[in-house]
Symmetry: C2
Subunit: 325 residues, 2 copies
């Protein structure tokens, strides 16, 4: 049994707890929190909750630590700290800062003789793997990533900062017409704006000026001004009932040529009812790979590009060849 620890018990940490139960070769042993441990109620009460500051004492009780903090402030600090003590897996997703984060985790985990797999999830993660694979197979081609339909936390926050707004959610929606053009092999030039529209559901305070709020949202620079944006006003009950899930997904499509202009389309897509639960499931599969790489004597930071695919599976190499090849 691979002994897993979780750092951070938010939506992602809860998802990891549930995902571990679907994998019979691993068990959750500890959850670490910055809050008061007694305030955390796990689904499985046999698992111990400890304060993060006590993690070091449990170095020998945990094979892989799954870091479930955010990329803005938690992981840049926690990643290297935990990589100095444990094999780690995280979902660091600030694309522009990945090289720098990789170096920090690499130094720490190499010094400790541990493996730290960074940027695991679906983007970065499964989307990256399919982008890379499609480019390697079709070097002459164009790659398109579409996101959604899914909740964007940043854009939802932006809506909620508008005066008179009580609550709101923003869905990023890929434009069907753009996807069709790519699938048809037209190789169009498309900006992020041309590929997506922004669909907002907004609850206003009593007596608020809806027309003014809609105008302010639609003209908000960076967030909405350059996009096709829809604003729908709904009641607080409706927001709670129909918009509290965290769906997401998207499409990675590569359109390329071989030979003398023979066309091919490679497409990978996800339709996720819960972004954090799905991301958690990818983290858990990567924890298995971290354990195996570490058992082989490897160390240092890794990404999904560095892992033999079979290491993610509970099945043996012979079983994979027989059943899934």
């Amino acid at each position: 049994m691979i002994r897993i620890g979780i750092v951070g018990y938010g939506n992602l940490g809860k998802g990891v707890e549930l995902a571990i139960k679907q994998n019979s070769d691993m068990k959750l042993t500890y959850v670490f929190t910055r809050r008061a441990p007694e305030d955390i109620k796990l689904k499985d009460s046999s698992v111990k909750v400890m304060h993060v500051s006590d993690a070091e004492k449990l170095k020998n009780e945990i094979d892989v630590m799954i870091l479930c903090g955010g990329s803005a402030t938690d992981l840049p600090e926690q990643g290297p700290v935990f990589a100095r003590m444990f094999n780690t897996v995280d979902s660091f997703d600030t694309h522009a800062k990945i090289p720098q984060y990789f170096e920090a985790v690499d130094q720490a985990s190499k010094a400790a003789g541990k493996v730290g797999i960074i940027s695991v999830g679906w983007d970065p993660g499964l989307f990256s793997m399919n982008r890379m694979l499609a480019e390697a197979v079709l070097p002459q081609g164009t790659e398109y990533t579409f996101w959604g339909r899914g909740v964007s936390q940043g854009h939802s926050d932006a809506i909620r900062r508008v005066k008179g707004v009580k609550g709101g959610v923003q869905y990023t929606i890929p434009k069907d017409e753009a996807i069709q053009r790519v699938r048809n092999g037209e190789n169009p030039n498309l900006t992020t704006k041309e590929k997506h529209l922004r669909d907002c559901y907004v609850v206003v305070e009593e007596g608020a000026d809806k027309a003014a709020i809609e105008k302010e949202i639609k003209n908000m620079p960076n967030y909405f001004a350059d996009y096709e944006t829809k604003v729908t006003f709904i009641s607080e009950e409706e927001l709670k009932k129909n918009h509290s899930a965290m769906p997401h997904g998207g499409f990675v499509i590569r359109s390329g040529n071989t030979g003398e202009n023979t066309k091919h389309i490679i497409e990978f897509s996800l339709k996720l009812d819960s972004n954090p639960e799905f991301t958690a499931s990818v983290l858990v599969a990567a924890a298995r790979a971290a354990y195996r790489l570490s058992s082989e004597g490897q160390s240092g930071a890794k990404t999904m590009f560095d892992i033999p695919l079979g290491y993610l599976s509970i099945k043996s190499a012979a079983q994979l060849r027989k059943e899934l090849l």
Copy 2:
């Protein structure tokens, strides 16, 4: 420069020759044939054509040999023979015999200290990778593979064996309705027959009884009898003009649950205008991986499950992290 050799210059071998030109880190050095070498005309006349029996003499001139023979009779014989002399890549695709073929290549390539990557292409190959990846991420779920729209060589041959038939092509077509049910997360039980229909284009000899031929095709056991089968009679010119390409493709869809019954759909699909050219492109990316694994000192038979994904790419690990993660 990675020096590549090709064994067998049919559709697949020709595809490999073209694919190598798209990859600036490799070059084609020799093509080996069982035919008279002087009868083979390559696209690039600077490459030497040799008889297969001369391959052994060129052990030091070739880094990876790409075996482009068929799975029925060529590869079971050639695979282990060449694995004793070279790093090899092949597209062995008789699913049921993969474990046995793996063992034969493994023994040969281990003895020689070489790497032999088997069963490369899209199914087995990219489809297998996505089946495995999706199962590892969503262990509670159901996997569906749909093939097509594409030419089935076996079924086309079966049509051509019917008396009075001069020529013909069979397309396997995935049923839209079945795909939609899977995408909706209904988790239906579907047999291969329920997922596909068989679309036949047939040229008959003058004076042949079309009604009798259509009946014979539709009732042919194993091939057509259990399927929804369409037969369309066309002229010889039409067959040549509209049905001489070798398109193929398909869908691998996994529908699974996390947490407390949260649904997710992972889908991978291919739409290929030329099955052999695309398969060749996958073989060439795998040749790069064979070269790298061998340079590291690894040996033995491998599959796509054993290869760190990044080894397939011309880009360095740092470049991949920066550009594609």
